[in-house]
Symmetry: C2
Amino acid sequence: MTAKADSGAALVRGQATISDVARHAGVSTMTVSRVLNKAPRVSPATRDSVERAIRDLNYVPNQAAKALSASRNMRKVAFLFDIPNAAVLGEMVSAGFAESIQPDVQLLFIKTNAGDDPLRALATIKDLDIRGVILSPPLCDDVRLRLILKESGARVVGIGCGDPDPAFSTIGIDDTRAVYELTSYMLKLGHRRIGLIAGHPRHQSSARRRAGYEAALLDHGIQPDPALQWEGDYTYGSAFGIAEQALALDPPPTAIFASNDDMAAAVLGVARGRGVAVPRALTVCGFDDSEVARMVTPQLTTIRQPVDAMAGWAVRQLTDELDAQARGEEAPVRKVLLDPIIIYRGSDAPPPRARKSGVAQ
Amino acid sequence: MTAKADSGAALVRGQATISDVARHAGVSTMTVSRVLNKAPRVSPATRDSVERAIRDLNYVPNQAAKALSASRNMRKVAFLFDIPNAAVLGEMVSAGFAESIQPDVQLLFIKTNAGDDPLRALATIKDLDIRGVILSPPLCDDVRLRLILKESGARVVGIGCGDPDPAFSTIGIDDTRAVYELTSYMLKLGHRRIGLIAGHPRHQSSARRRAGYEAALLDHGIQPDPALQWEGDYTYGSAFGIAEQALALDPPPTAIFASNDDMAAAVLGVARGRGVAVPRALTVCGFDDSEVARMVTPQLTTIRQPVDAMAGWAVRQLTDELDAQARGEEAPVRKVLLDPIIIYRGSDAPPPRARKSGVAQ
DNA sequence: TTGTATGCGTTATCAA
DNA sequence: TTGATAACGCATACAA
């Protein structure tokens, strides 16, 4: 009788266990377990008294014991990233991962530069016994990394990556279609000289967005003009100089699509400085619907990329696959392509009627 | 003899256990455990063979079992945040938390709006059995939340919070001194009309930074001029309009200190637009040394706030305290005040010699 | 220097 | 509908 202390001790020690609850409710631990896991065959009366005991004792299940009993390690998933844009990462964490993490899965953040040797990532994954990986751009554009990951046996889910591999589940919006629609909208507004600020040349997303822009132009009988296209790298700074060149053109474009919001914000800043009124004299549209889109004046018309929801889905999908795998089933691979949504704000308008060259000067 | 399968099974099943390793090495599990935990009394030969077995079997310790055996739950710590600035959160995750998370602590991200009922946070903490909490601004300015947290029994560590409570460990830079030094630097450069764009009025950090600005001015015999002070809210957007007002002044300030980099970037944007050359005609300094400080042109002279290192320290401090507490010892409370470091980049210069009013026009 | 035995908190199996 | 018992993988007294 020395094995178990009395039920009061647990409270003093800090944590009540399932047997404390059982004793308190006058049932066996098995019954408590059943109540906790919502098993079907429990009488309402028993259930009630157990639930009361749980509340009384402030009982919280021990995840470690739970995991151990299920004879599996703690499920660990890692988010691999190489962020040119800390704000996007912040949003993912903030709204996405924050909500979707289950109490018994552990999410690790692993920074991996695109240039790094993928073997380093592999070592980390092996050492930490990571079973699932969430991949974000531009890492998913790295062939070697994708290969290494497949060989590691880890399940992989991609966010905003297009469809790099049939074995990977993915979620993202259709960049090409999204930009196609946004560009078409600007064309319908009456714009004919629409500039493009492309993203990082080594990110596939950048190419996809450019494709949407060009397709829309062509479908409206307009030949894409190389003089109206510039190559940025998705950073605010890269678009600063570009915006100056663009607005110095004679005649200048009446609209500019920047491949993300950061770059669109830079255009706004430069336009403001040159006295070019947005949207009266210049339409500016972005991509992402990130925080900055609501921060600037006027607020940006942009394409919503729900990174928060995407991040949440990715975690859930990954744990789904891991669970299935643990049960010996075939892990389900899912591909989700979100419909593009354009968020109309204040940065777009029809082009000025009669615009003489040099007005922006 | 039905209890244990043969050692090959583990590999097939996916995970080798400590007893697989023991059998493979021809020793007891105890010995393997000693090797794993670097216990002193193990003969080199034994150690070698065990280590080889570990490699051969690709053994990875089961954290769940480890935690359970230590008769404690998985250590869970939560990062509570309410981000006006996703980029800062991104940086914390990116460089800070990413490195410092130990394999057996679980870090949760919990978004808590400053306006929220602190009781909601408490419920989450209780439900998830969270033992430690990392607090960031502006949440640490919330008296009710601090109180609730203390009552919850969770250990609390503050990042960039000043020193809100003697029981909380904290890390941060001395905002006041940092801004004092930066302002003094501008004064030494020859500036006399230095504008201030304050941060969010309800963030204590904003008041601390303003204090540093005013103290430096007074120490140089300059009376702070209310006409040169504006109240932003730490967002890019809030500073946009302010910058226009500031530059429209006659005479305009020759330097502007913005209470964070985002707002300084907005000043840069507006200046560029008005043809005000930075730094030749206008010095602009920020605070944080965040990503944006290197993105804009010219790059910002700013105060380094090493959020990455701070985040890492916070996690380690928290687990330290939790460990001590688990051992029944007094948890050590530590207060770290980092020396301010000014990062000199391209956005500062002496004031223009002869500046006539209206030049910026 | 090495090994044996037991417990950590939970769940699954089987029996009542 | 409920309960007894044996794992799950590791660490730690205690022995040898």
